[in-house]
């Protein structure tokens, strides 16, 4: 019994909140929103069940009739479960918490305090979109990601839920809890939505470029390996080996020039295939990407087939990174990402669905210009960039020497003097050291720590020192020899931020400074 007719931006206040308003008890539970899943979910589940039943039915029709019975039983069970779940699931939003109740045999009530809600994400596949449905995902900082998943609400209900939630949280943060009880009656009805400021809207050109520059060699390897496995399973592998043998003989008869050209064109076509698929993937995933700011909350909307909406309160941002892999750096473009508590990812890797991407791709200058929208106050800081120690170059060169010293004797037995080629490792490692040193930099600007690193690409990270959970200075045996140290800064979300190869003195001074900033901020939070 969802009221589909309700306007999206919460025009009519929920009837429940109207009746609860006059209650003057100190802990009056004000129900701000309440609802069930949308009935059209049943259609989705029916389709799911039909799809899953298709295979057993096919088996039954062809081989064994009793598969048909199995299919029918499974189908009915699934449908019954879906209906029961639809009938029992109920969500309630009060001024303090979001309650999701569900279950047939064992009832379960999940209560999520509003303070703990990190994010409210919307996702809508093409089928759900046609039915006007949205999957609502509630994320907390537990690190488990999605804490509750409402699949699916009508778009109007979902919008209403979000508006009310944001408004309730705003109230909680602005008014102290004790004084707010009286005013809650007035605040219970959703206030008019705040004006929206579009921070960034991706052009198709940008998205196209993102796809074209999305060169991930690992993807090729993975697809190649998967294809090989498939071929093996289908028994093609042995036949292919035979073909490969013939092919090799044929290749041997070709002139070297033709051979090189052939191989080059083969390589190019593989790369082209990768680029084309990456481009299409990016265009589909990030189509119409819009980053907007409403009050203190950032909102992202994107997607062509599956549309996604994701809110990110500015106060929850733990780190902002501006990433430029080599090709994008060459072209002067950058990706902006933000980590919030709860999300976790490795350097340079997108989480599924691109949840942490704030700007898919834009010019570096534009990326820098929109940073204040993500972490306000950063525009007032003048970052006095400091370099890491030059001994970094020495360290990498020494590593090259050690590697070469290991490689030469190891290969000598097999290759003889050719093993001396491994000595190339020394200058290559030294060069990497020079590049790394040139890109390495750090700056402590008031309440922000900025870090720059990279070898061919370049990665910038901004961490509000108030969000720092712990600071670690680490020295490897090599680093102890050279008086170097790594500094790692831990925040509640995302991977730790690492500043490699500072001098020991710098690292310790910086670590203490950051830790003291964090301690002061933590004391203020309390």
């Amino acid at each position: 019994m969802t009221d589909d007719s309700e306007p999206p931006a919460g025009g009519a206040p929920d009837p429940a909140s109207g009746t609860a308003a006059p209650v003057t008890a100190p802990r009056a539970v004000v129900v701000l929103a309440k609802g069930h899943l949308h009935p059209a979910v049943l259609l989705l589940r029916l389709l799911d069940a039909l799809r899953q039943a298709a295979f057993p039915v096919l088996l039954g029709a062809v081989f064994q009739p009793w598969f048909l019975v199995l299919a029918a039983v499974l189908f009915l069970l699934q449908l019954g479960y879906a209906v029961a779940r639809y009938l029992t699931l109920e969500y309630t939003l009060t001024a303090d918490e979001l309650r999701v109740r569900e279950g047939i045999l064992e009832r379960q009530e999940r209560r999520i305090p509003l303070d703990r809600i990190q994010d409210l994400g919307f996702e809508s596949t093409i089928l759900r979109r046609a039915l006007g449905l949205v999957v609502v995902m509630v994320e907390t900082a537990s690190g488990r990601g999605v804490e509750a998943r409402l699949d699916a609400l009508s778009r109007a209900d979902a919008d209403h839920l979000r508006e009310v939630l944001l408004a309730a949280r705003r109230d909680r943060t602005s008014a102290p809890a004790s004084a707010a009880d009286g005013e809650h009656a007035a605040a219970a009805s959703p206030p008019p939505p705040e004006p929206e400021w579009i921070v960034h809207r991706s052009t198709s050109g940008e998205l196209l470029l993102r796809g074209v520059t999305d060169l991930r060699l690992s993807a090729f390897v993975v697809t190649g390996f998967a294809a090989l496995q498939l071929a093996d399973q289908l028994g093609i592998a042995t036949r292919m080996l035979g073909i490969a043998g013939d092919f090799q003989q044929w290749l041997g008869r070709l002139s070297p020039v033709v051979l090189v050209l052939l191989l080059a064109s083969l390589l190019l076509s593989v790369i082209a295939f990768g680029v084309v698929t990456a481009t299409i993937g990016n265009l589909v995933q990030f189509h119409g990407f819009t980053l907007a700011l409403r009050g203190q909350v950032l909102q992202r909307r994107f997607g062509l087939l599956t549309t996604r909406q994701k809110t990110l309160p500015r106060a929850r941002i733990q780190r902002v990174t501006v990433e430029q892999p080599w090709l994008r750096r060459l072209l002067g473009f950058a990706v902006v990402k933000a980590d919030s508590a709860g999300g976790s990812r490795q350097q340079g890797e997108d989480t599924s669905g691109g949840w942490d991407v704030v700007v898919p791709l834009t010019r570096l200058a534009a990326a820098d210009a929109l940073l204040p929208a993500l972490i306000p106050g950063i525009e007032q800081q003048a970052f006095g960039w400091q370099r890491g120690s030059r001994r970094l170059i020495l360290r990498t060169a020494l590593q090259g020497v050690v590697l070469a010293a290991l490689a030469v004797p190891a290969f000598w037995a097999a290759w003889g003097p050719w093993a001396l080629l491994a000595l190339v490792l020394v200058p290559v490692w030294a060069l990497l050291g020079v590049l790394a040193w040139q890109n390495l930099g750090f700056a402590l600007g008031g309440p922000f720590l900025a870090l720059r690193h990279g070898i061919v690409g370049r990665y910038l990270a901004y961490v509000p020192t108030a969000k720092v959970q712990a600071v670690v200075v680490r020295q490897s045996p090599f680093a102890q020899l050279l008086g170097l140290a790594d500094l790692t800064v831990y925040v509640a979300g995302g991977s730790p931020t690492r500043l490699p190869d500072l001098t020991l003195g710098d690292a310790k001074r910086l670590a203490l400074e950051i830790a003291e900033h964090a301690a002061v901020a933590a004391a203020a939070d309390w």
Partner: protein, 166 residues
């Protein structure tokens, strides 16, 4: 290498933690190497065709290395370990090959645990574990504390966090 002018933690662990580590960690490697030598070696010699004196030496070396490592690490770890409070910060410094210095603001700690294993209890030792928010590297341990000192530290942290004034 200029001397760092930053304050260092200076409280040490209990000396008997060396014995505890020897027993708790050393014992297991002793058992493993004894098993490998006295049970594994005859079996290998019997059923593995490629078995040769060279392999025997390799196995012996590995076993001795394991035992040596188990004997050497506790005193070295003890010698490096320092911890202490600097205002609102808990500082730790430890490591044998890789030296680490950690600073955790007391008020960022989500909760504090006191862990006492059976052998630890025998030695009257306790481990203080503090957790901060976040997924990676969010637990920090201070091992080898006297039980009373560990409780003191826990109470200090709880006090400084302000949990007492509910």
């Amino acid at each position: 290498m200029q001397p760092a002018a930053t304050p260092r933690p200076h409280e040490r662990l209990q000396r008997r933690v060396v014995l505890y580590w020897l027993l708790a960690d050393g014992l297991s490697s002793l058992v493993v190497s004894a098993l490998a030598w006295f049970v594994g070696r005859p079996l290998l010699a019997k059923y593995w065709e490629a078995w040769s004196p060279t392999w025997e030496n390799v196995l012996l070396g590995a076993c001795l290395g394991l035992v040596a490592l188990a004997v050497l690490t506790p005193p070295l770890a003890y010698a490096r370990w320092r911890f202490g409070f600097l205002g609102d910060l808990l500082l730790m410094r430890y490591g044998i090959l890789f030296v680490e210095e950690r600073a955790v603001p007391v008020r960022r700690m989500q909760h504090v645990d006191l862990v006492r294993g059976p052998i630890e209890r025998l030695f009257g030792l306790a481990t203080l574990v503090v957790f901060t928010a976040g997924n990676e590297g969010s637990a920090f341990r201070v091992p080898g504390l006297a039980a009373s000192r560990a409780q003191e530290l826990r109470d200090f942290i709880v006090e400084a966090r302000g949990d007492g004034r509910l």
